[in-house]
């Protein structure tokens, strides 16, 4: 091992900084997966019959499906029977303000450096917190309500806006879309719901902080976001999870619907527990995220992925309407023994549709990072355009990085460009920084953030700062 490699190994080996457990009173049902469990979830949530039937249908189809194995990751498949499918902090009473939130919970957010009060005061972000599947605090609701914007937990939406939920749930990600989407459809416990009315520009960034908390509970979030004609919304999702020895399964489904001329910006910072330095533990993150763009609509996915032991995630756009636009900006960091297989799918259906893909992979330690992307131009998609750029940055000589671009073109007028690079953080770059008084940890942070700049620039300002910190944290030994 050369001196440089030793340095790299040292600085890329970092204990997970958010590995702590919050002690909150929880209500958990017995482990296991069967129709009775699904009926119980539906009952506990007081759901309408159509939804129970929908769940049961998903479950029956799920039972005939097999777990996908095409992703370039290896892991022990989670035992779905040893998971408890419902865990909710016991509600004491309805919460009107933050003062009523469990102080333990608020402490958790403080440890993460995300003080809600501060967030609200400084940034005007409306925050809907999801801890172990149930929303416990919602803010800025009134202000949003005045504009007709609905931003609440999906459970609440099911009760209060069943017609919207019924119309759109499963419309972008069908309940049998894939193994994990089917599982989610059967057992999802909570998530977020958002509706922006026609011609309305949502005046603030909508934000949800997810956090897996109860040991042994899988989390099955369901997010449904509808932007009606000519509306605009920017939605932020950020996640961290406490340290656990056993693997935790997370199989979320996110559906975005951008009606004619609407625009949705969906940003994610994901920092779930990646497992320890030996590759033990960590979250399995098997997520299905997809959006549909109607005429002249636009969906932009931005993600900064630094956590999870295994990630399997392809935020996608179906460009159904003419002149619609899909974008995907991604930074995916893998360190120690993490594995990620992530990318996007851009399905061009309408005429003059455009898509852009910028993917920045960073692999360190003994990890393995993969980009997998599909650009599909359907027969009727006249003058479709795509530009893809997939860059990989390697740190040390024990990690891996792979790019799997798939391109399917069925219309001759399509124009597709694909660029890819692979680079290493050079000894020369580090020495140059060192010589200017910048220590190796800070230098790596600086170089990596520079490398990801095109993606970080897409994030809302306050989120970008957090993401930069996270990138440095995941790769450095001392900053924190």
């Amino acid at each position: 091992m050369t001196e440089e490699d030793k340095i790299l190994q040292e600085v890329t080996t970092t204990d997970y900084k958010y590995g702590f457990v919050t002690d909150i009173d929880s209500d958990t049902i017995k482990k296991g997966l069967n129709e009775d469990v699904i009926r119980l979830i539906s009952m506990k949530k007081n759901e309408p019959d159509w939804l129970l039937e929908w769940r049961l249908d998903a479950f029956r189809k799920f039972q005939k499906m097999t777990e996908p194995e095409w992703a370039n990751v290896t892991y022990d498949k989670p035992d779905l029977q040893s998971i408890s499918y419902y865990s909710a902090p016991k509600p004491k009473k309805t919460l009107e303000s933050l003062d009523e939130v469990d102080p333990e919970l608020l402490k958790t957010f403080e440890k993460l450096g995300i003080s809600l009060e501060e967030q609200k005061r400084l940034t005007g972000v409306a925050v809907d917190i999801v801890v172990d599947s149930v929303s416990v605090a919602t803010s800025f609701k009134e202000k949003l309500g005045e504009l007709g914007i609905i931003f609440c937990s999906i459970s609440e939406a099911i009760q209060k806006h069943p017609e919207l939920v019924k119309k759109y749930i499963g419309s972008v990600v069908p309940k049998t879309d894939n193994f994990y989407a089917a599982l989610n459809s059967a057992v999802f416990t909570d998530g977020s719901f958002c509706y922006i009315p026609k011609g309305t520009r949502c005046p603030m960034e909508l934000s949800t902080y997810f956090r897996i908390n109860q040991a042994g509970t899988g989390q099955f979030e369901r997010t449904l976001l509808i932007a009606d004609e000519g509306s605009y919304v920017s939605y932020l999702e950020g996640c961290t999870a406490p340290s656990r020895d056993e693997n935790q399964l997370h199989a979320a489904v996110v559906e975005l619907i951008a009606l004619d001329d609407a625009e949705i910006k969906y940003s994610t910072v994901q920092n779930w527990y990646p497992g320890n330095k030996e590759g033990k533990g960590g979250v399995f993150n098997f997520v299905t995220k997809r959006g549909i763009c109607h005429k002249s609509a636009k969906i932009s996915w931005t993600q900064v992925e630094t956590g999870s032991a295994v990630t399997w995630k392809y935020p996608s756009c179906i460009l159904k309407g003419d002149n619609s636009i899909g974008e995907f900006f991604s930074v995916a960091v893998t360190n120690n023994y993490q594995q990620a297989d992530t990318g996007t799918k851009m399905i061009h259906v309408g005429k003059n549709t455009k898509s852009t893909i910028i993917s920045k992979g960073i692999s360190a330690g003994k990890s393995n990072g993969n980009y997998r992307g599909l650009v599909k131009i359907m027969k009727g998609a006249e003058n479709a355009r795509n530009f893809s750029q997939c860059d990989s940055l390697l740190m040390g000589d024990q990690c891996g990085s792979h790019t799997f671009p798939y391109i399917e073109v069925k219309n001759k007028s399509a124009r597709i460009e694909h660029e890819a690079t692979t680079s290493k953080i050079g000894e020369d770059q580090l020495f140059y920084c060192n010589q200017r008084g910048i220590g190796t940890d800070e230098a790596i942070g600086l170089i990596v953030n520079g490398y990801c700049k095109d993606v970080l620039n897409q994030l809302p300002m306050e989120f970008a700062v957090e993401a930069q910190k996270l990138l440095s944290l995941s790769l450095e030994g001392s900053v924190g």
Binding site: N434, Q435, R436, G439, L446, G450, K453
Partner: protein, 248 residues
């Protein structure tokens, strides 16, 4: 200020420096000249603390302190600056962000708070002017797509910002046209003071017309074989290095 004694250095088993001695005081400008492969760049890298070089003997003292075991950034914090012969590109990191990080990391090392943004901006503007640099320059990724001249100007800009006690200019004149050479040399001269020292490493005497050295040393086969005043540089220009080689 700088005291190098019997310095011997190897890289991958090749002996590059073989018992080099050099001493300089503050307020002085020293030029180190010599043919290709004499060990000029090795000397500058070793003073800055580059780790691939194995120091097999001798000592380097800076302001009375032995710096041999110090990391490159610690040496930088003491006030040692190296203007690189081949400055490195760092994509996506702007000149502004880079210099801000460099200044504030150095300040942190001496328990100072980060430089207020206003002061930083003003200082940047002043130094930019000194080196006749375009405004757009500050937001460009450091050294990425820079011409040879821009890279060297950027090095001297950083020197101006960091105000080092000891600046080593490694072939700062290479790749510069006459105008750029004048601007860079002018910048260096403005930064020269009674409390700092400058080492100019060069092949040619033309830079020394602009930055006039107090002492000139000739490095050959890992040792300083001849020292003198500015006149020595002129003599070298006229006769080449052969007569030194024969004498050595």
């Amino acid at each position: 200020m700088l005291k190098i004694k019997d310095l011997s250095v190897e890289i991958e088993g090749n002996k590059i420096l073989k018992g080099l001695n050099l001493e300089m005081n503050k307020g002085e400008v020293h030029a180190i000249m010599g043919p290709n492969g004499a060990g000029k760049s090795t000397l500058s890298a070793v003073i800055a603390g580059r780790e691939e070089y194995e120091v097999t003997g001798g000592t380097i003292e800076f302001e009375g302190k032995d710096i041999m075991d110090m990391a490159p950034e610690e040496r930088a914090h003491l006030g040692i600056f190296l203007s690189f012969q081949y400055p490195v590109e760092i994509p996506g990191v702007s000149v502004t962000n880079f210099i801000k990080t460099a200044i504030n990391e150095s300040r942190k090392a001496t328990d100072l708070d980060p430089m207020p943004a206003k002061d930083l901006l003003k200082k940047m503007r002043d130094k930019q002017e000194l080196l006749e640099m375009d405004k757009t320059f500050m937001s460009r990724s450091i050294n990425e797509g820079f011409s040879g001249g821009e890279k060297k100007r950027n090095e001297i800009f950083q020197m101006a910002m960091l105000e080092p006690k000891l600046a080593i200019l490694d072939e700062t004149d290479s790749g510069l046209d006459i105008d750029a050479l004048r601007i860079v040399a002018n910048g260096v001269n403005k930064l020269k003071g009674k409390d700092n020292a400058i080492v100019v490493i060069t092949h040619y005497q033309r830079l020394l017309d602009h930055i006039v050295p107090d002492f000139v040393h000739v490095l050959h086969e890992g040792k300083i074989v001849k020292s003198g005043t500015k006149a020595l540089a002129l003599e070298l220009e006229e006769k080449g290095y052969d007569w030194i080689k024969q004498g050595a």
